[in-house]
């Protein structure tokens, strides 16, 4: 799992690439979100467009990231979801909880 961080219009965007699976991607995601929060980020967008796969541990990390950010009064949103990743979230009804946007422009605009 490779994660690159950038800024746009006050939002911290994490571009994720690879698998969010146990023992690798899940830890990388946790550390990246915690680092962003530690640096004071309150609006975090996860670019899921290049996520190849996710398992239940990765889903758990997405939930943990969401609660970590929102419990601090911040916002965490996901965009450009690959169909397989979106499907995994849909069948566990997490699409009713997590904020998922179509693309980056829509995700940035949603923070306004």
């Amino acid at each position: 799992m490779k994660i690159e961080k950038r800024q746009r219009d006050g939002a911290t965007i994490l571009d994720l690439q690879g698998r969010i699976t146990i023992g690798e991607g899940d830890v990388a995601l946790r550390e990246a979100v915690q680092a962003a929060v530690g640096e004071g980020a309150t609006s975090i967008l996860l670019n899921m467009g290049r996520v190849r796969s996710i398992d239940s541990s990765g889903v758990g990390e997405l939930v943990a990231a969401y609660t970590t950010v929102t419990n601090r009064g911040g916002k965490l949103r996901l965009f450009s979801m690959p169909s397989r990743v979106l499907g995994v979230l849909q069948i566990t009804q997490l699409v009713t909880v997590l904020d998922i946007l179509e693309d980056e422009d829509e995700a940035v605009a949603s923070l306004a």
């Binding site: 023992g23 239940s56 541990s57 758990g60 939930v63 397989r84 995994v88 069948i91 566990t92």
Partner: protein, 157 residues
């Protein structure tokens, strides 16, 4: 596609997450010659990874000295995958429903749900001297597994 060749592949791995990739690679290669489409094979892989994760993490407690035994068996009707750990067992019926409103934001507890969803059948066997064996079955020609179809419905076989 010709009739599937009956075969049985046995693996024994130490309880390390990186070994999941090894087993996944063996499954992927095995599926290449079978009448299972790429999408169904992908979801079978996710189910296998969940079974291995449970065995390594919850069963064997990440003790690298404890083994996880895997068997991939192909016959004329489908694929059976068994994953057996050396843990102390658990009660599958006591696992919380991940779709219950109070559980939606839990960070764990979805693995068995995904296994049930992506395979045609799963069942458990508990050894008299400990150890949990989970058996995952996929029939040839069954409707394709997908996370997109029938969204929100649990497959509680």
């Amino acid at each position: 596609m010709p009739e599937p060749v009956q075969q049985t592949i046995r693996l024994s791995i130490g309880s390390r997450y990186e070994n999941i990739e090894l087993v996944q690679a063996v499954l992927d290669e095995t599926l290449e010659s079978l009448p299972i489409d790429e999408e169904t094979g992908y979801w079978m892989g996710i189910a296998l990874r969940e079974a291995l994760t449970n065995a390594i993490k919850h069963g064997n407690g990440l003790d690298p000295e404890k083994k996880v035994d895997v068997c991939l068996a192909v016959d004329e009707s489908g694929v059976d995958i068994t994953v057996e750990d050396q843990g102390s067992g658990f009660d599958p019926d006591a696992v919380a429903d991940p779709l219950a409103p109070d559980n939606l934001l839990r960070t764990e507890g979805r693995g068995i749900f995904y296994m049930r969803r992506f395979m045609d059948k799963i069942d458990y066997d508990f050894g008299a001297e400990g150890g949990t064996k989970v058996r995952l079955h996929k029939k040839f020609g069954a409707p394709g597994s997908s996370a997109e179809a029938d969204q929100g419905g649990a497959n509680e076989d």
